[in-house]
C-alpha cells in the first residue's frame, strides 16, 4: 500500500508529466521556430521542478541550480537559437518529411521501455522525486528519437538540447542534482557547444547553401 502523496510530490508529478507532454509535442512539431519555443517551455518546467525540490528538501544549492536553469535554458539558449535563425533567414523553416504518426508510436514504445529500465533504480532512491526518473529517461530517449528522425541541422541541435534537459531532470530526480561545480562545468560546456553550433550553421550554409543535412552525405563507406 503506497502512502498518500503530499502536495509537493503531486505537483512534481504534474510537472514531470508536463515535461513528457512537451517532449511529445516537440516530436510532432514541424516548424523550427515553435520547436525553440517548446524547448524554452521545457526549461520553464525544469526551473519550476528544481525550485519545488529545493523548497521541499531545503537544499541551498538547488536554488542556484534553478536560477542557472532559468537563465541558461529559458532565456539564453532559445534567444541565441532564435537570433541565429533570424540572421540566417530561416525563421519560417519546417521539416515536412517527418512521418508523425509513426514517430508517435515509436515514442510510446520508448516511454514504456524507459519506465521498465528505471524501475529497479527508482525503488532504491530516497528522494521525493524518485518516481520521476522513468519520465526523465523517456525525455532523453524521445530527444534521441527526434535527433534521428530530423534532417535539419537546427532541429538536431534542438534535439540535443532537449536531451540535455532530460539528463538534468534525471540528475535532480535521483540525487537532488550534481555538485554545483560540476553543474557549472556542464553548463559552460553546453554554452560553448551552442556557440560552436552557431559557427557551424554559417559554415554549412556557406558551403552547401542549405541547412538540410541530406546534403551532408558525401563521406560514405565506399
Amino acid at each position: 500500500m503506497m502512502p498518500p502523496l503530499n502536495l509537493a510530490t503531486q505537483l512534481l508529478h504534474v510537472l514531470a508529466a508536463g515535461l513528457l507532454m512537451i517532449s511529445f509535442a516537440m516530436l510532432a512539431q514541424r516548424r523550427t521556430r515553435r520547436l525553440i519555443v517548446l524547448l524554452a517551455w521545457q526549461g520553464v518546467v525544469l526551473t519550476a521542478s528544481t525550485l519545488l525540490v529545493a523548497v521541499t528538501a531545503h537544499l541551498q544549492h538547488l536554488y542556484y541550480s534553478a536560477a542557472l536553469t532559468l537563465i541558461e535554458k529559458v532565456w539564453l539558449m532559445p534567444w541565441i537559437l532564435l537570433r541565429l535563425m533570424r540572421r540566417l533567414g530561416i525563421e519560417g523553416d519546417s521539416d515536412p518529411l517527418v512521418n508523425i504518426p509513426t514517430l508517435m508510436l515509436v515514442g510510446l514504445g520508448l516511454v514504456i521501455f524507459a519506465f521498465g529500465l528505471a524501475q529497479p533504480i527508482s525503488s532504491l532512491a530516497t528522494t521525493v522525486t524518485r518516481q520521476t526518473l522513468g519520465i526523465a529517461m523517456a525525455v532523453i530517449l524521445l530527444a534521441f528519437l527526434m535527433m534521428i528522425a530530423r534532417h535539419k541541422a537546427v532541429t538536431q541541435v534542438i534535439g540535443f538540447l532537449a536531451m540535455e534537459n532530460g539528463l538534468f531532470f534525471a540528475a535532480t530526480s535521483t540525487t537532488y542534482g550534481m555538485p554545483m561545480v560540476i553543474e557549472l562545468g556542464i553548463a559552460l560546456d553546453l554554452l560553448v557547444g551552442v556557440f560552436i553550433f552557431g559557427i557551424f550553421f554559417f559554415q554549412i550554409r556557406e558551403q552547401f547553401d542549405s541547412l538540410d543535412l541530406h546534403q551532408l552525405e558525401a563521406l560514405k563507406e565506399d
Partner: protein, 483 residues
C-alpha cells in the same frame, strides 16, 4: 606543484596563442610551450617514481602509476606533433588552404586540447573527467573543419553530433554513478564523485545501478574511443582535419577516452562482483577489431585507411583490458604506448606524402621513395610497425594479447587472428605501391620535419627488442592497479 605546471602550461599557452597565434613565429611558440609541458610532465614522473601516488587540491586531482604514464605519453606526443606541425602548416598556408586567422585558431585550440586531455587524465573527479572530455571534443571540432571544405564541415558535424550524443550518455552514466555512491559516501563535499573514494567502497555499491551506469559510461566514452558500432565519426574526422590534428586525435584522444573507460570498468567490476564488465569490453573490442579490419579493404583515402586502423587497434586494447589480469593489462598498456607512437608517426609521414602528391587518394600517391626517401621510409616502416611485424613493439603487445586470449578465452583467438591477417594484407598492399613505383611529383618547398617520425619509430623498435626494467616495473605496477 609539478601537476600545476603540467596543467597550467598548455592552458596559459592557449591564451597566449589566442593573442599571438597569427604571427609568423606562432608555430615556434607552440613548440616551446609543448616542450615546457613535456618537461613539467617529466618532473611529475620523477616525483611519482620517488614518492608514489599522490592526491592534490583537496583530492580533486590524483596521480598514480597508471595515469602518470599516460600523462607522460600525452606530453611527449603533444611536443613531437608541435615540431611536425611547424613546417607542415607552413606548407598548407603556402598552398593557400589556410589563412593567418585560422592558424591562430589552430594554435590556440591545439594547446587547449592538450590542457583538456591532461585534466581528464589527472582528475580524480568523475564529473570533472566528463567536463574535460567534452572540452577536448569541443576544442577539436573547429580544427576538423579548419579547411572549410564541404567534406571537412560534414566530418566535423558528424564528429560533433555523434560525440555529443555519446558524451551525453556518459553524463547519464556519471549521474547514476553519483546516485549509487551518494548513499554510501553522502552528498557533502564531492566525495561521491571522487574516484579514489569510489574505489575504496566499490564492493558495497549497488550492483544494479552500477551495472546500468557502466553500460551508459561504456557506450558514451566508447564512442570517443571509436568502438563499433559508434565509430563512424572517427575515419571522417581523421581524414578531413589537418594532419597534426589527425595525429593527436588518433595518438592521444583515443587513449584518454580509453583511460576513462578503464577507470569506470575498475569500479564496475568491483561493484558487480562478476566478469560482466570485462566481457562487455571484450565483445565491443572484438567487434571493432574485426569490423575495422574488413573495412580497411574498401578505403581509398590514405588518412581514412589509418583512421580505420586506429579503430582496429583500439579494439585490440579494449579487448585486452576486458580480459583483465596482469598479463593482458600489461599488454594493453604497452599496446596503448606503441600504437600512439606508431600511429602518430604514420600520420606525420602520410601528411607529407599527400602534400607531395597533392591528394589524399591512395591511387594518386606513387613513388614516395623517389621524391623523398625519408617520407617513403617513414611511411613504410611505420606501416610495418603498426601491422605487428617483428621486431617492433606492436608485435610484442599483440603477441601477449594473443597468448592470453588463447589461454583464457580460446573462442576469441580465431577472430583476432583473422582480423590481424586481413588488416596486414589490406594495409601492406595499399602502402607498397605508394612507397615504391614511378612518379613525377615535386619535392616540398619547406623541408619536412621528420625527426619525430623516426624518434617515435625507434622508441617502438626499442620497446619491441628490450623494455627497460624500470619501464617494465612501471607497466606491471599500473597493470596491477587496473586489476
Amino acid at each position: 606543484m609539478e601537476l600545476a605546471w603540467v596543467l597550467g602550461t598548455p592552458l596559459f599557452g592557449a591564451i597566449v596563442l589566442a593573442v599571438l597565434g597569427a604571427r609568423r613565429s606562432a608555430a615556434e611558440l607552440n613548440v616551446v610551450i609543448s616542450l615546457a609541458t613535456l618537461i613539467a610532465a617529466a618532473a611529475l614522473v620523477l616525483r611519482i617514481i620517488g614518492h608514489g601516488s599522490m592526491t592534490v587540491a583537496h583530492e580533486q586531482f590524483f596521480v598514480d602509476p597508471f595515469n602518470v604514464f599516460l600523462i607522460a605519453l600525452t606530453a611527449l606526443i603533444g611536443f613531437t606533433t608541435a615540431v611536425f606541425s611547424r613546417p607542415y602548416m607552413r606548407i598548407e598556408q603556402d598552398h593557400g588552404r589556410l589563412n593567418t586567422h585560422r592558424l591562430r585558431l589552430y594554435h590556440s585550440m591545439y594547446q587547449l586540447f592538450m590542457a583538456a586531455m591532461l585534466v581528464a587524465l589527472s582528475t580524480n573527479n568523475m564529473g570533472l573527467l566528463w567536463v574535460a572530455m567534452e572540452a577536448a571534443t569541443l576544442s577539436t571540432v573547429l580544427l576538423v573543419s579548419l579547411y572549410r571544405t564541404r567534406a571537412s564541415i560534414e566530418a566535423a558535424w558528424k564528429y560533433f553530433i555523434l560525440c555529443g550524443v555519446g558524451i551525453a550518455l556518459a553524463l547519464f552514466g556519471t549521474i547514476l554513478l553519483y546516485f549509487a555512491a551518494e548513499r554510501l559516501l553522502g552528498g557533502e563535499g564531492m566525495k561521491a564523485l571522487l574516484w579514489t573514494h569510489l574505489n575504496a567502497v566499490k564492493g558495497q555499491l549497488d550492483p544494479t545501478v552500477i551495472g546500468l551506469a557502466f553500460v551508459f559510461l561504456l557506450v558514451g566514452y566508447g564512442t570517443k574511443v571509436g568502438l563499433a558500432p559508434l565509430h563512424n565519426w572517427l575515419p571522417d574526422a581523421h581524414a578531413e582535419g589537418p594532419t597534426p590534428v589527425s595525429a593527436v586525435l588518433s595518438g592521444l584522444l583515443l587513449n584518454v577516452a580509453m583511460y576513462a573507460v578503464v577507470r569506470c570498468k575498475i569500479l564496475a567490476a568491483g561493484a558487480m562482483h562478476s566478469a560482466l564488465p570485462g566481457r562487455m569490453l571484450m565483445v565491443f573490442g572484438l567487434l571493432s577489431t574485426v569490423l575495422a579490419a574488413f573495412l580497411l579493404w574498401r578505403q581509398r583515402d590514405i588518412k581514412r585507411l589509418f583512421g580505420y586502423s586506429s579503430i582496429e587497434h583500439m579494439g585490440i586494447i579494449t579487448f585486452a583490458f576486458g580480459m583483465g589480469g596482469p598479463l593482458a593489462n600489461f599488454a594493453a598498456l604497452l599496446h596503448m604506448t606503441v600504437h600512439s607512437l606508431t600511429k602518430s608517426a604514420i600520420f606525420f609521414a602520410a601528411g607529407h606524402a599527400s602534400q607531395i602528391a597533392g591528394t589524399q587518394r591512395i591511387d594518386g600517391i606513387r613513388g614516395l621513395l623517389a621524391v623523398s626517401p625519408t617520407v617513403g621510409w617513414g611511411l613504410m616502416l611505420g606501416s610495418l610497425a603498426i601491422l605487428g611485424t617483428p621486431p617492433f613493439g606492436v608485435f610484442t603487445s599483440e603477441y601477449m594479447v594473443l597468448i592470453t586470449a588463447m589461454r583464457d578465452h580460446p573462442w576469441a583467438t580465431p577472430f583476432l587472428l583473422v582480423a590481424l591477417a586481413v588488416a596486414f594484407a589490406a594495409i601492406f598492399f595499399k602502402v607498397q605501391p605508394m612507397v615504391f613505383g614511378e612518379t613525377d611529383a615535386q619535392r616540398l618547398p619547406h623541408p619536412p620535419a621528420l625527426v619525430p617520425v623516426f624518434v617515435h619509430l625507434s622508441i617502438v623498435l626499442m620497446l619491441g627488442l628490450y623494455i627497460p626494467p624500470a619501464l617494465a616495473q612501471w607497466y606491471r605496477l599500473a597493470a596491477s592497479l587496473i586489476g
